[in-house]
């Protein structure tokens, strides 16, 4: 049994809601000990976001919260009380990383700003993940994944050219760009600390990773003087590339043709004279008739079972994929089953509930959620007896006095 990649790394986590909690979850699943600082007085609002186990609302019942907080421990502390702040300072003295995704200035107001903490812990890595970053005229702006998608142009560029933008239908920047960039930056800082002993602060504006993932619009603007627009499912280099109906209610298949050979294979699988038109045999020819080709494919695909059509096309080396929904993925997808993607972890209020495993597998051993999301304050006593030297009677008194709540 080898140790996990981040075994021995300790994080005091002030993150809440989306991207921040997902960042520290990635680190917790990789082996870091993440202590989530919470309070019954000021809840992480994701604890009150659906879905709930059994459809019953409760602070320990949100599946959304659970998936974003696997492998973490929770402690409740009233940061409005100076004794609460002192206890947090004690935890931070021995940790490697402090993380938050508040607006700039909030950590300072709570008594846990970087300038204060660096004197308590000289090797500390401190990351703030606000919408717009620590400095600048718009630093105070409040942001969510969807408003970040709008501000960065990601939302405006996603959709059909002749209709309103549609984006991903989710708060996309919260789920991949910001958690992955945040986790990567923290681990870069961990390497520097391991080599030099030096800590540092990391300022990650949540707009900026998303922008780093879409360089072409600004480069087109600068280098070619062109403003790119929405192109729906089409993309340069492919003809056709689209989403077509298959048998069943609201069932679809995505097909991307990147070569003339793939086009011939698509025609052979779908059949019909129209698909064999000579002028459509080359990409240049197909590019002149994209709407007509899309209609021809759709007319034929609609009679096929989506999975059977996908298999037939894949047998010919044609990129094709059924548009799968959550039920398909959770209950049926044989590949996700093969990779053990879905994990069911026991939780005292939620029962066995569903977590994502990571998209990476390590040959040395299993990686992923180690235990279910914590109940609110579940580990208060455990953490304080282990890390702060408080006796059980002190903990009881502080709870009674509204400090550990």
């Amino acid at each position: 049994m080898t140790d996990l990649p981040l075994s021995g790394v300790s994080i005091v986590d002030f993150c809440w809601i989306g991207a921040g909690s997902y960042t520290t979850k990635l680190l917790a699943d990789l082996g870091a000990d993440v202590i989530k600082i919470e309070s019954t007085r000021s809840l992480d609002s994701l604890r009150l976001a659906s879905p709930y186990a059994g459809g019953i609302r409760g602070v320990n019942r949100s599946g959304y919260f659970a998936d974003r907080n696997s492998s973490k421990r929770s402690i409740t502390i009233n940061m409005k009380d100076p004794r609460g702040v002192a206890i947090v300072h004690r935890l931070i003295r021995d940790c490697d990383i402090v993380a938050n995704n508040f607006r700039p200035g909030t950590m300072e107001k709570l008594g846990v700003g970087y300038e204060t903490l660096r004197h308590i812990n000289q090797g500390l890595i401190f990351i703030g993940m606000s919408m717009n970053g620590d400095d600048g005229p718009d630093r105070a702006m409040l942001g969510y994944g969807i408003t970040i998608a709008a501000l960065t142009g990601f939302l405006g560029l996603s959709g059909y050219p002749d209709r309103e933008p549609t984006g991903t239908g989710t708060n996309y920047p919260d789920h991949v760009p910001n958690p992955c960039h945040g986790a990567f930056a923290i681990m870069c800082a961990l390497r520097h600390k391991a080599r030099t002993g030096e800590g540092q602060s990391i300022d990650m504006a949540q707009t900026e990773p998303m922008l780093s993932l879409m360089p072409v619009p600004v480069m087109e603007h600068g280098a070619n003087g062109r403003t790119v627009g929405r192109t729906g499912n089409r993309l340069a280099g492919y003809a056709p590339r689209g989403v077509y109906p298959v048998r069943g209610e609201d069932r679809w298949i995505a097909i991307s043709i990147g070569s003339d050979a793939q086009w011939l294979a698509l025609g052979a699988v779908l059949g019909g004279d129209e698909m064999g038109k000579a002028e459509w045999g080359t990409q240049a020819g197909r590019l002149c008739a994209m709407d007509e080709i899309d209609r021809a494919i759709a007319a034929r695909s609609a009679d096929h079972d989506g999975y059977a059509l996908m298999q037939a096309l894949q047998d010919h080396g044609v990129p094709a994929g059924v548009v799968q929904n959550a039920a398909d993925l959770v209950d049926h997808d044989p590949q996700l089953k093969h990779r053990g993607h879905w994990r069911y972890l026991p939780h005292s209020e939620m029962g066995n509930s569903l977590y994502n495993g990571p998209p990476f597998q390590f040959a040395s051993g299993p990686i992923g959620p180690r235990f279910a999301a914590p109940l609110l304050g579940e580990h208060t006593v455990e953490i304080l007896t282990e890390r702060s030297g408080l006796a059980l009677s002190d903990i009881d008194d502080l709870t009674e006095q509204g400090v550990l709540v």
């Binding site: 709930y52 959304y64 408003t147 549609t166 520097h192 990773p209 780093s212 619009p217 994929g321």
Partner: protein
Amino acid sequence: MSDPTALEGVQVLELSGLYGAYCGKLFADMGAKVTLFEPLSGSPMRAKPPFVGDRPGQDNSLAFAYFAANKHSLCADLATPQGQALLLQAAAGADLLILSDHPDAQAVDLAALSAAYPRLVCVRITPYGSDGPYGGYVGDDLTLMAMGGLLTMAGFPDCAPVVAYGEQGLLAADQFAAVAAIAALLRAERSGQGEMIDISIQEAIVMALENAAQTYQLEGKVRKRTAGARRAGSGIFTCKDGQIYLLAGGIGETAMWGNFALWMAAEQCPGAQIFAAADWDDTAPGADEAFQSVFLPFAMGQTKDQLYQGGKTWGVPIAPMSTPGDLLGNRQLLHRDYFVQLPAGSPLGGTRVPGAPYKLSATPWALRTPAPALAPATQDGKDATP
């Protein structure tokens, strides 16, 4: 004297194609030496449109200029023994090897490399993972976004789902690959133990499903695409000079609706008293129409930026639907010097590109060198240094 870098001394060998490059870029920009191992004809990304001046050419692809900046190039034919020897030699000095859709990926024997160099961390990125029922399937961004479950939530219910801009599914895999690789690298430096990491692009996309999987498991509901059917106070709205996105409803329990009502009252927006009413229900029938009848006339008199600044003052999440021109002139991004110029030395030198995605105080992100020219085929393992 230049700043210290976080990944100083880390050697990365990148065998990528149309994906995998962002993983290498994350390492290169933080100071690792990343060598792009190219086939004789060059990385497929060199041929990816659009091109500067619309002229295809080895150094003219916008994507290549961005994703390969800060990297070195090494060129070899992996179908030959010399090419294989060169790969073995390059891997000997490497800490991390990234393998994705390199045209000769089949000729890379990761198991042999990993056996030869036990400290090496290898990351393999494939559409569905390297084995299993779909292990042999091919995929591009669109088909993988379909199979990964994100596409089903994107678009209008009355027509086919529509994929997000910018091949984000492929980039999602690159990002998770970087996270896994650096975690394994930290352990390798601590213990001498290398790793073999297998990434599925489909599965990286599954990570982006928000609460959809749990909503199905816990409440039996399947999330679908819902564009156009909105909750009053949330969505895209037209204003004087474009569009904005307003999120006055919200996630969980928030005070944002109250803030919005106060803002509209302060603006003396006619009819805004309905927003402050105790019985206002943003999901009630007719609420969206009522909302629009009050908000739209106000919004039409305001610019994107005025509305954004209003949201900042009143604590309401709202954002301009930015164009690329807006982004290059965005005062916050300018203040942070976010966009940087590609270094001189390539046809795209001087072009502004996205810069640091994070600011590390002691070991900052830095763009140092342009994307490398295609190195001449070499026998001795020397690479072209830009």
